[in-house]
Amino acid sequence: MHIYINDTKYEVSENDTIIQVADRNEIHIPRFCYHKRLSIVASCRMCLVDVEGAKYPQPACSTLVRDGMKVNTTNTSASQAQKNTMEFLLINHPLDCPICDQAGECELQDVSLEHGDYKSAYNEIKRTVIDKDIGDLVSTEMTRCIHCSRCVRFGEEVAGIKELGMTGRGEETKIETFINQGLSSQLSGNVIDLCPVGALNNSLYKYSARTWDLKQTSSISSNDCLGSNIFYHTYKDEIKRCIPKEDEEINLSWLSDNDRFGYEGIKSDDRILHPLIRRGDNLEKTDFNTISDYLIESLKLYSKKSCGIMSAQSSCEEMYLFQHLLRENNIGKIDHRSKECDFRYQKNFPTIPSFDIKLSEIKNLDNIIIIGTNVSKEFPILSIYFREAIKNNDTSIFSFATYEFEENFPLKKSHVLNSQELADCFNTSTTETNVDIDKTGNNLIILGPAISYLSNYSNILNNISRYAESNNMKLSLLGDQANTSGAWAMGIVPHRLPGGVAINKTDKSGNYELLSDTDDLLVIYNLEPEYDFSDDNKILEKLKKSKANIFFSSYMTESIKKYAHIVFPLSTQVESSGSYINTNKKLQQYEKIINPLGESKDGADILLTICNSFDSSLTHEGVKKSIRAILAKINVNNNFVQIANLDNVKNSNFLEKIVIRNPNSSNPTLRRCNSLLNTHDNDDYFSIPLDKTVSDNDKIILNENNNKLKLTIKQKKHAKPINTVLVKIGGTHKEKIGAYNTEVDL
């Protein structure tokens, strides 16, 4: 089948529309309401083209091709239609381009210049629309709106929550939320990109630069393990905004709010700008040589009784160098799993945990079981794929979690269970599981990061793996940080070298404690003791007891101020270069976007300099080459983790506490993005089962592991899960929250 556009012949397929053929062949047709990933409404009439045989110009976005169709996009009929449409669109559009942030990249501006007329027949008063307050992230200038309805369709079709709507009629038509509600979707920032005019703007970018001044650099998201491709726009060495980079394998045209607005924190007052060393009670400025020497000496001095804990948000290069530095000094206790407390599974864990299937294959699945993750909050991009699957294949999605939440896609069934019930639910050896699905289909189980914080993680993992294997399902393991897969592959675990090479150890039980035993030297890399550990009491205790605490950190916290002996000022991800391995095992490089603040330095540079003091052969290029070689060798077929002779660690009669980690404050930089936290992470609460009561109404006192915790946050009650109290606190909070998962008394 073929059609002619402007007298040139093009091959087309059955269900193409004219605009799709034109876009494929780079023929320009002006448009506002059409977007390739949204439904077609043909409401703006900007894409009118002349079709031979048709009486009037036809909208290219909604006209299907016919064999031998002759289309003309530039003749008098088409261009006159476009000119007239443009005149109508400009009737109510204000002439405030000089102060509009969209100016320079505005579709209306471009189309007006190219297809519009320089004069208008309209002399009457233009309409004005009162701006709506729809949250801290998206600012509005609704007078500029041309009612293309892209934002409305985005909410309905992609984000799954219709928050913006088109109200009123005729001249009264407005885009607004229901009585000025704020946008709550984790994908809400995308309406900024979608808006062809300057009606919906980026609040953080507002009025701070002009589009033609910005320099665009591509990068990789550091906030979740999907590794979205992004562009940072900088001006005078400052990040002004962040937009998605199209990637058909990962983030399509979208970006989660964490990625889009997650750079605000890098300018926080907490940033550490100089190398610091302890003198008495204070940390004082010093130089890199002094603290590097201190580090090398301490490594030699305490080598056997040392421990290195690294964030899985670090790049592969940093990880490789970190473990190299520590292992060269005979330190084997290296880990990235600071939030976990059950490590019995580690011997059998895959060398590199992954999603196992390509994201684009999700749409062909029949059933998906999601365990322990609120996908639309934690992995918003993934939720888009789920919605597509439901639309495409009528996929049934089941959710199992430890607390109640809403998803932006319909769930076939959702279960709220406590940790013990969760393990039992998939136990193949006892009764039949609760999951009622067609086992012959193409099924997938997804295990979210929150499950790994539970104290019976190994049991759950074991049961689910056995369940998945016996039912011919695939198992996906989602990491809690951008480079969790990388951390496993680069050997940031005590029992494996890079590439998953097991370290021969006699200890077969897998009993391993990260926080309980004392170490003389602690090297903590890009983690904040208050927020990033499975038990803040334990890590603070450990810091207190150890003889030297070495921190690599971008931000200052109370505990670093109190316990650190030396602090290396680490640059944030945008200020350094490196690579991440995403959940699909894809190695993605990112470059430095802006210069590091103050004297802070790229972690890989700091580590390389230190490593070079005893091994001068290491170079950045060498490290990169090793990483690629390691990755090439890794071969993992599935994610099943089966452990023999596993004891049940839970006592179901006790009350257990589960801390709900906020996806919007999952790493040190995100915790300092105030606009983001105000919008998406403002519901701290403490929830107890319906049958329990708290004596004091203002504060809750929890007894756990001989510690008393006082919480003065909002109280709630829940029916499920039973025998469980839930705590959710986000941002940089002052309260101690204790262990992530433990037994407690009220």
């Binding site: 219709k162 913006l164 709507g165 088109m166 109200t167 009629r169 229901f178 009585i179």
Partner: protein
């Protein structure tokens, strides 16, 4: 704040819902809103819209869109007795504009407003009520009055009790 709908309304909404496929709850919004508006002295409130959205399990903005789009829904309190004068072609040719002017003068309101004592509401944007044979015509509280004259209007409006 969420007002729960009365059982009577819920029952009526359920019967509307049954006319449409299960996953097409949006289709029942208009009819449900009409019922709710009728029960709530002829106007809708944000709380009612919210509770309908919850009941039909659709987004609040979906209901709000419908409520703001149609002129038959009012989002602010209006007079008890609704006067709708047809101003479409047939009635217009039979001088409906003068009828409107007369009522405006008589009630001392402009079209689209309620009287001060909240007795009457003169509705605007009234479309054809399918009684062209009796033009000019108006509808008061859903009852048609045809072949209007000034005297007839006086009689009809004065005949409405203060209740």
């Amino acid at each position: 704040m969420n007002i729960s709908l009365s059982d009577k309304i819920k029952k009526e909404i359920d019967s509307i819902k049954s006319k449409f496929p299960d996953d097409q709850n949006k289709s029942s919004i208009i009819e449900s809103l009409l019922i709710i508006q009728h029960e709530n002295n002829g106007y809708l409130t944000n709380e009612l819209i919210e509770s309908l959205a919850d009941y039909l399990n659709v987004q609040k903005i979906d209901v709000y869109e419908v409520a703001t789009f149609y002129s038959m829904f009012s989002l602010k309190p209006i007079g008890k007795n609704i006067i709708s004068v047809c101003t479409n072609v047939s009635c217009m040719l039979r001088n409906s504009d003068q009828i409107v002017n007369y009522i405006e003068k008589k009630l001392k309101v402009k079209i689209g407003e309620s009287t001060k004592d909240n007795k009457f509401y003169l509705k605007d944007e009234m479309e054809c009520l399918a009684a062209c044979n009796g033009a000019p015509m108006m509808q008061v509280n859903h009852i048609n009055y045809e072949n209007l004259t000034y005297e007839k209007i006086d009689k009809i409006l004065d005949g409405i009790k203060d209740d």
